[in-house]
């Protein structure tokens, strides 16, 4: 029975876990209950991934109403891969959330943070799970609303402002997305994504379709923080509670990029649309700008979290570039980097969170010499940093390798120069952090800290090392996913 319903259970387990945790309140059971549910969920997603890779796309009709009339959940290789990523990172982080948040959030609000965290997980999983365009919007809102709450929960002035800014910008993004969905719904009378893909080619030349595509793309681009729509991301990543930002940086923009890929290749008939190729060209240009400007801004900042936030903008550029190439190799590279970057940035923000515990400061100065005091965190930071740069034997190298291969195939020589330039710039800002963290001159007191919070860091860093050494499973999954996404047999 579980096998048959696993696809929906992945979403409703966390969705129902959230109110239960609210009822359990401040008791310790709540945390262990959450950890249990999220672990089961992670196992389910792994199992689903294996199912999808062997059987093919899985479908589930809610309420037994057949698609396209009812809401259909559809899981393809790309969705299954991302679900594994989301559920695993959530399950790994949940046990330590309380410890990571202890310093910034009073105990009276910690359970609220836990509830919002579970809801965010449910929302992200839902975006990936559904095959219904309107459902994507609903889950996008679930995840966004819980994100606003999580950022603002620390009761810091800067965080409140960051959250409010994100609220305004995020709502505009969601509205744009909804307008786009509304337009295609008026045109075709359906919200099912597969059905849309069948019906939209008939109207692919109308102005309404072009405008719908633009609305959908801009709406998702805001959520995905594609340059120049990234302004909300910097304060959010800089001021949100430290424990939370690792999760946000790892997953929320990736899921939005998934939605972008899904709508560009799985819903809209880009090839037949007059603006299709123009849009892809524009996205490529924006991606290049994101890489260069994001990396340059990362070099300029001295607040480590701002550095990592700008680095995220640049890395989102890599993913967008891969997608916007719209070739099989490009999309494969984008999917690989989506996966890798989630683990890299998650572990890096986690490292910074632990290093900054106690002092509460995130400047390069305040982190000086801490790498020697906390060797495990220091080494994980080093691995994460090397991955960002793309040093061989780390997952970042695999991403860059595939991206550059895709660019070579597409004969985009100037883009390759830009990617390499951005990589060189990433060496500078990663070196800045590493140099500070391993500075020997500074003689800080050894701060005792709970070693158990190292566990998620070690796990996340291990994933990025493992993929660097043996990437065949990820690459073959990504290739299958991109083939499916581009509609190739």
């Amino acid at each position: 029975m579980i096998a048959q319903h696993a696809q929906i259970l992945v979403v409703i387990l966390p969705l129902l876990c959230a109110p239960l945790v609210l009822l359990l309140g401040k008791s310790r059971i709540a945390v262990w209950f959450t950890v249990g549910v999220l672990s089961v969920n992670a196992l389910l997603t792994w199992w689903l991934l294996l199912q999808v890779l062997t059987i093919g796309t899985l479908r589930y009709s809610l309420g037994n109403w057949p698609a396209p009339w009812g809401i259909e959940y559809r899981l393809d290789p790309l969705g299954a891969l991302l679900q594994v990523m989301i559920a695993s990172i959530a399950a790994v982080m949940a046990p330590f959330l309380r410890k990571l948040l202890a310093e910034e959030i009073g105990s009276s609000r910690q359970y609220a943070a836990l509830v919002a965290f579970i809801l965010l997980t449910a929302g992200l999983l839902g975006i990936v799970a559904t095959g219904d365009a309107f459902n994507v919007f609903v889950f996008l809102e679930i995840s966004s609303l819980s994100t606003y709450a999580l950022i603002a929960i620390a009761d810091k002035r800067d965080a409140l402002l960051a959250s409010f800014r994100y609220l305004i910008v995020g709502t505009i993004g969601a509205t744009f997305f909804l307008i786009g969905i509304g337009l295609v719904y008026i045109l075709t009378g359906t919200l099912n994504m597969d059905d849309l893909a069948v019906r939209l080619p008939e109207v692919s030349h109308t102005n309404t379709t072009q405008i719908a595509l633009i609305f959908v793309t801009i709406g998702i681009a805001i959520k995905a923080a594609i340059w120049p729509l990234h302004a909300w991301l910097i304060p959010c990543y800089s001021y949100a509670p430290r424990g939370i930002v690792a999760f946000l940086a790892a997953l929320s923009t990736k899921v939005a990029l998934y939605a972008l890929a899904r709508f560009l290749f799985g819903v809209f008939p880009l090839a037949d649309m007059p603006i299709g190729s123009v849009l892809l060209e524009i996205l490529q240009l924006l991606a290049i700008a994101a890489m260069l400007i994001g990396s340059a801004a990362a070099i300029a900042h001295s607040n480590v979290r701002a550095v990592l936030a700008y680095s995220s903008v640049a890395q989102i550029g890599y993913i967008t570039l891969g997608l916007a190439l719209a070739t099989s190799a490009g999309v494969t590279a984008a999917i690989i980097h989506m996966f890798n970057h989630a683990f890299i940035k998650g572990s890096l923000f986690m490292c910074i969170a632990i290093l900054a515990t106690g002092s509460g400061k995130h400047t390069l100065e305040s982190l000086k010499g801490l790498g020697h005091r906390m060797p495990i965190v220091g080494i994980a930071l080093l691995i994460g940093g090397f991955s960002l740069v793309g040093v061989p034997l780390t997952s970042g190298f695999i991403s860059k390798w595939f991206l550059i291969t895709a660019l070579v195939q597409a004969e985009k020589w100037i883009w390759i120069v830009a990617v390499l330039l951005s990589s060189v710039m990433s060496i500078i800002y990663v070196w800045k952090i590493v140099e500070a963290v391993f500075d020997k001159s500074d003689d800080k007191q050894v701060r005792s800290y709970d070693l158990s919070v190292d566990i998620p860091i070690v796990l996340l860093a291990a994933v990025s090392l493992y993929i660097g050494i043996n990437s065949s499973a990820l690459v073959s999954t990504a290739e299958q996913a991109s083939k499916w996404l581009l509609g190739m047999p």
């Binding site: 029975m1 319903h5 929906i8 409703i12 969705l15 129902l16 959230a18 109110p19 239960l20 609210l22 009822l23 589930y60 009709s61 809610l62 309420g63 037994n64 009276s108």
Partner: protein
């Protein structure tokens, strides 16, 4: 607000009617325009009106924030639980046909339970929002009992 006698009398008369109207919209939702969300907002509006007329302390005594939190959670669980019941009865998630032996009755039961869940959560959330905006500080929400009594003491004195 002791001098708002007209408002209070009219309010006392109106609030029960608003609640009944909310229930009407709730049960009408199965056949026509209406349903849990609209009914929840109307019910929430009744509670907010009560709060506006009789003050924060009285409202918190009538419906405590703790209760609202419980109600919101129970609503979601009722909704989700109805869906899961479909799975347990060998149907799909949210399949109402299998809830009772007669599929049509099952559809009726399913939609009523789902809309009830929506009513609970929406009315609680709307009211909690009003409470949050009116709260002087965070303590109101975390410890309603102490606060409500001390405030009503102040009002009496």
């Amino acid at each position: 607000m002791s001098d708002d006698i007209i408002l209070r009398i009219v309010g006392k008369f109106l609030i029960p009617l608003v609640v009944v109207f909310a229930l009407y919209v709730q049960f009408h939702g199965e056949y026509g325009p209406g349903g849990g969300f609209q009914a929840g907002v109307i019910l929430g509006a009744a509670l907010i009106l009560y709060r506006l007329l009789f003050g924060d302390a009285a409202a918190r005594k009538a419906v405590s924030p703790r209760w609202l939190r419980l109600q919101a959670a129970v609503g979601v669980l009722l909704y989700g639980g109805t869906g899961v019941a479909g799975i347990l009865l060998q149907g799909q998630f949210l399949e109402y046909n299998v809830l009772l032996t007669d599929p049509i009755n099952g559809q009726h039961l399913g939609i009523i339970l789902i809309e009830l869940g929506v009513l609970l959560t929406v009315s609680a959330t709307i009211t909690a929002l009003a409470y949050t905006f009116s709260a002087d500080s965070e303590e109101h929400l975390s410890d309603p009992q102490v606060d409500a009594s001390s405030q009503s003491d102040q009002l009496r004195s």
